[in-house]
Symmetry: C2
Subunit: 252 residues, 2 copies
């Protein structure tokens, strides 16, 4: 009897262990199956990204002739870009008086998204002859390499003698040598490659000004124009809201 009882107890124990083992095994199998299903979901995500990229590329191409036409029209309006920049709250904060003078020679801005869009963008600034630098165009471009690491590079600015706006001549005390100090300037942005993955000015120009620069040009241009064209401003504001809303929505 005692032996039988022991045997029964041992069986129960074995059964219990078997059941536990069985449950463990079933869970592991379920995990493996979830993993397989997850792979399918990831494949679908990948395809969705590719299709969306194609749509973006298609529309980037379709927008090009309009951007070109817009650039031509903008070139007829003196000081268009410097006005748009001065009227933009974030960009305006980066401009000192001399920047504004130099930017009066800015005739054309272009934003180019690279063909696969994900990999980066480039902003070109075209200038007329000016007393500050020799360059006809200055650009800054942003790249993501294959591992997703961001970097940026810019055109070197060929400043005319004593005109480098990123360096200011410090007030000299008598007997001390004059020195050059770093100065906060819009043009300092071309030297700054510290946060290429989230370059604030780059993104403001690309995502906020470039989609609709007219609204910033119009914000507070001459009172006359403002009153005469109130409807236009209202429409611009509305369009901007729609644009922002679209941005917010596509981000979610």
């Amino acid at each position: 009897m005692a032996t039988q009882a022991k045997q029964a107890k041992a069986d129960t124990k074995n059964n219990h262990e078997n059941t536990e083992e069985q449950a463990d095994k079933e869970q592991q199998e379920a995990i493996e199956q979830i993993d397989e299903v997850q792979n399918e979901i990831d494949r679908l995500n990948e395809s969705a990204s590719e299709e969306i990229l194609k749509v973006e590329q298609k529309y980037n191409k379709l927008r090009q002739p309009y951007f070109q036409k817009r650039s031509e029209l903008i070139s007829k309006i003196p000081n268009f870009w410097v006005t748009a920049f001065v009227n933009h709250p974030q960009v305006s904060a980066l401009l000192n008086e001399e920047d504004e003078e130099a930017l009066q020679y800015l005739t054309k801005v272009e934003v180019q998204e690279f063909d696969d869009i994900k990999s980066g963008y480039k902003i070109n600034f075209h200038f007329g002859d000016n007393p500050y630098f020799e360059n006809k165009s200055i650009s800054k471009e942003f790249h993501l390499n294959e591992t997703g690491e961001p970097s940026s590079k810019s055109t070197a600015i060929d400043w005319k003698a004593g005109k480098d706006l990123t360096k200011k001549t410090s007030q000299t005390k008598p007997g001390k040598k004059r020195g050059l100090e770093e100065q906060d300037s819009f043009f300092g942005w071309f030297l700054d490659h510290g946060d290429a993955g989230a370059d604030e000015l780059g993104e403001v120009i690309k995502d906020d000004i470039w989609p609709n620069p007219l609204q910033y040009y119009l914000v507070c241009c001459s009172l006359h124009l403002r009153l005469m064209r109130k409807e236009l401003v209202m429409m611009m504001t509305w369009m901007r809201k729609v644009w922002m809303m679209r941005k917010v929505m596509t981000m979610t």
Copy 2:
């Protein structure tokens, strides 16, 4: 002679005024034309958004059967969801001990994006019989109305007596009446409609956990499994990186 000179001067002045007027007129025309071009660009943006929405909708449909299959498999693993939540750094920070106990009865989570996607989403939490509340499911949903204003609403939780985890019984001093105080609890989230446009927990569940809950379940489940299935974890981590990268890229 004097009269002739005056006349010439007046002519010059008139010419000057005429030229200025002419320039003003040309600029206004250019602005109007920019506005027209901008309308075309906006129309293209609108079409691009619509096409992208269609792609998203198509893939949302294609993902459904996999999400369903995944839910079935997850239901075979006890404590899957509470483990995933506990292992998620941001969600974990919102859980107190009693929340974790209650969430052991959480059998199924579902995220539904509304058909036009932009307009919002709903998260359903399904529970088994439990000592805390009567509900079989609790949900919170987020909406954007036509003007883009966000709002949220939740299922009212039917707490069992004395079990409301959003209220705690305060320590009573002798002679004082016992009172109920607000308590920080995961379940308090269902009462919080203060920031429906950027609900942190809602977005973490929708955008971070729901796309791949297995990775969070696996992060630190039993050491045994961790060692045995190191490759899987590595693969999950890699998949997560790809997913995050994709997110970052689609945001730019």
